[in-house]
Amino acid sequence: MIRSSLREQSEVVPELSGAPIAEPIAGPVARSAARLDDRYAHGASERPAGESLCRYLDSFDWSLYQAGVALEERIAGAAPRELRWLDLRNDGVVIARQTTNTEPGFADALPDGPVSDLLAPILGIRRLLPMAEVAIRAQRLRVLNEDDKTVVRIVIEEASLRGPEPAAVALPPRLRLLPVRGYAREMDDTLRRLEQSLGFSAGEHESATPLFFDAMTAAGCRPGGYSTKLAYRIDPEQRADAAAKAILHGLFDTLEANVEGTVKNLDVEFLHDLRVATRRTRSALSQIKGVFAPPIVEDFKARFAWLQQVTGPVRDLDVYLLDFPTLRDSLPEAMRDGLEPLRDWLIGHYAEEQAKLAEALKSPRFQALRRDWRAFLEAPTPRDSSLSGAQTGSPAGPQSGPASEPLSQPASSMSAMAPQTPPPPPADGLDGERSIKSVADRRLRSVYQRLRREGRAITHVSPAAELHELRKTCKKLRYLMEFFESLYPSREMRKPIKQCKVLLDNLGSFQDLEVQAAHLAETARRMHAEGACGVATLLSMGALIRTMLEGQQRARQQFSKTFAEFDSPTNRAAFERLFGARGVGAAAARDANA
């Protein structure tokens, strides 16, 4: 039905034509509307064509889009910016609006209002970034009755995407009919006349696409295109080295995507995501064992360890500052104000640390790491694994030069996948040519068994170092399971991953609180040495350290229970089902003998 597409006061936009128009004022829609003016004895331009700017905002990881909404910022002349909250699951209708006088960024910097209320829980600590910008030229016409009373409004909008290039991309023109309350008959009549004069049928504007989607398509944006979730689709028969490179390449894409935001410090999540990608890269390098030549692995491991290290100080400050309200609240009320100099001190050191970080990310050392790593990841997978060592840093392998033989890359990976070709025995102990599934089975089994062994050995008197070691092993298992999830029956990996996370949470709070307490003690010493704090602050920090160490003790007391749940017979059976019966059988036998 026609009405349904026009029921909303202003936001449903029947699209008239898919053909973009070039001329800003005399497009086919405008011409038709002019004709409409002639036909309607009383038609009149309500006001001259107005121009406005419309920007679509989202966080870098598209959290609004993922929640099914879009945030539109309208800027027209000197009026305050209007923010509109659109429901993308319902034709982009406006759910809420509010104004603001400043450029939107963080949720807590927006003035209070209905949009701000909806935005805050979804955006969290991320910053709003402009994803696409559209210039809109709108003309409002009105249809008058014999008393010269407005009975229907017609809005014609011509929009073009404003991009980095000077040439704007025209979007399909839009026409909207805005009903005036109490004039339904006139609305129907206008609609009928428009259909006749513009030659579209009522059915067509049911499918009106919100401008958001046209803008995204024209901008070449893929909403939801960035995610830190690992969702690899790996062919179990793929060569292990090719599959490992695919995994590492995915991590590298995430890392690269976050460099600019980290350098500019747009929000704290860029650095966080960059660090997670780095940590996962290091883990994949060392844990997908035996597929790359050890010298290459060692070289890159060291270089990524450097990256992890130079990004550490700012992350520490971020965590402190994010946690600050919670830390403050954990103290008795009388001691809370004593912490303020700590906050000042942290903020005072932030700019300096951020500058060092930005410098490191612009340094030749980091550029070389990016270049070498990309070259390694993009080099064709060697037929003979023993040659892989010779390939680092040089795009042309000795066996097949991709520059001269552009087809060699797909050819080599294709032939490796052919089941008829039995893999030659590894010449140097490398497993690069084995199937990724067999490597995954072996590694997961091995790390899982190590985790159980280490976990079972821990008693109430074990030193903290053993729990730290266990945490590392658990993290390795988790990352491996995430990398290889697609190799195993769908959904079956979910629960084991979840269980790993529960165990990691326990071990993490144990270790993090210890590290934080030590870090805080060190900070207190530095602040004291710099004369940056008085006794009250030192006492408050001392109390905070105590709270942290108490929390650590609680985590320690929780450990045996958490681990026992992880190591329950049901969970063990689930792990064993996943990673292959034979190896597990042997492990079970070993366990029984032990």
């Binding site: 008393d147 009373k149 407005t150 309350r181 109490g182 004039y183």
Partner: protein, 257 residues
């Protein structure tokens, strides 16, 4: 939702132009505003170019068939709607008498379903004291009363005051008289104004001058601020609006109901 009646026992005192201009200024400030043209002459409907007709007339409206919601018309201005007059409103007292119970609470009852749809309702009331006006007094938060500075006008203000005073139930209704159609050239106006301002401390300080622009509203069929935004009398209406807002919306213990 606040309800303001623009009311006068006497006709021809600038009541409708006040209702129309106040409503326009209210909507221009972003308030969802409804004008209910209760005067069978339909002058405010005319100013908004809307036909003074309600399907089924006042009787049907009292039976809530159609609902109030279904007879509201959009004006040419954003956020500003109108409930048109109907000639049958001249018999409104008879229709109200016929109401089974509470004949003075009918207007309040009819407005209840749209309370959430509007921030302000302005009632353009018919002159006279009648059952209809009792309904208005009961439903409204405040009465804006145009007073021509003449002895006769002052008498009607006394009458209204006496009427409201004797009726305890209306004690909370705030009376906001102001001088309307003031001729600055007439010394009698000035003298009467001085006297009345003393007698009625409630008198608003803004007075609306007698001006040809106001009379031309009938030709333009448009609220005055929309076609003469810079005129002196428009400024006077803006001041009146500001005083009205302060009286009706002020939070400091001046709540009317």
């Amino acid at each position: 939702m606040k309800i303001i009646g623009v009311y006068s026992i006497k006709g021809g005192v600038g009541k409708t132009s006040t209702a129309v201009n106040m409503a326009y200024l209210s909507a221009a400030e972003g308030r969802r505003t409804l004008v209910w043209d209760l005067d069978p002459q339909g002058a405010s409907s005319f100013y908004f170019r809307i036909k003074p007709k309600v399907k089924g007339g006042g009787g049907a409206l009292l039976r809530r068939k159609p609902e109030l919601d279904d007879v509201i018309k959009g004006t040419d201005f954003d956020l500003l709607d109108l409930l048109p007059a109907d000639f049958s409103y001249r018999n409104m007292d008879i229709l109200l008498e016929g109401a089974k119970k509470r004949p003075t609470a009918q207007l309040e009852r009819l407005l209840a379903p749209i309370r959430r749809d509007y921030d302000l309702v302005i009632l353009d009331c018919p002159p006279s004291i009648s059952l209809m006006s009792e309904n208005i007094f009961r439903a409204a938060n405040a009465l804006l009363v145009p007073v021509i500075p003449s002895t006769l006008s002052a008498r009607t203000l006394d009458q209204l005051d006496a009427f409201l005073g004797k009726d305890n139930a209306q004690g909370k209704l705030r009376l906001l008289p102001f001088f309307s159609m003031v001729d600055a050239a007439r010394s009698l106006h000035a003298e009467t104004m001085a006297q009345l301002s003393q007698d009625y401390p409630n008198m608003l300080s803004t007075s609306i001058p007698q001006a040809p622009e106001v009379e031309r509203m009938g030709l333009h069929r448009t609220p005055l601020p929309a076609y003469a935004p810079a005129s002196a009398v428009t400024s006077a209406y803006r001041e009146l609006w500001a005083e009205l807002v302060a009286a009706v919306y002020s939070k400091k213990g001046r709540r009317l109901r």
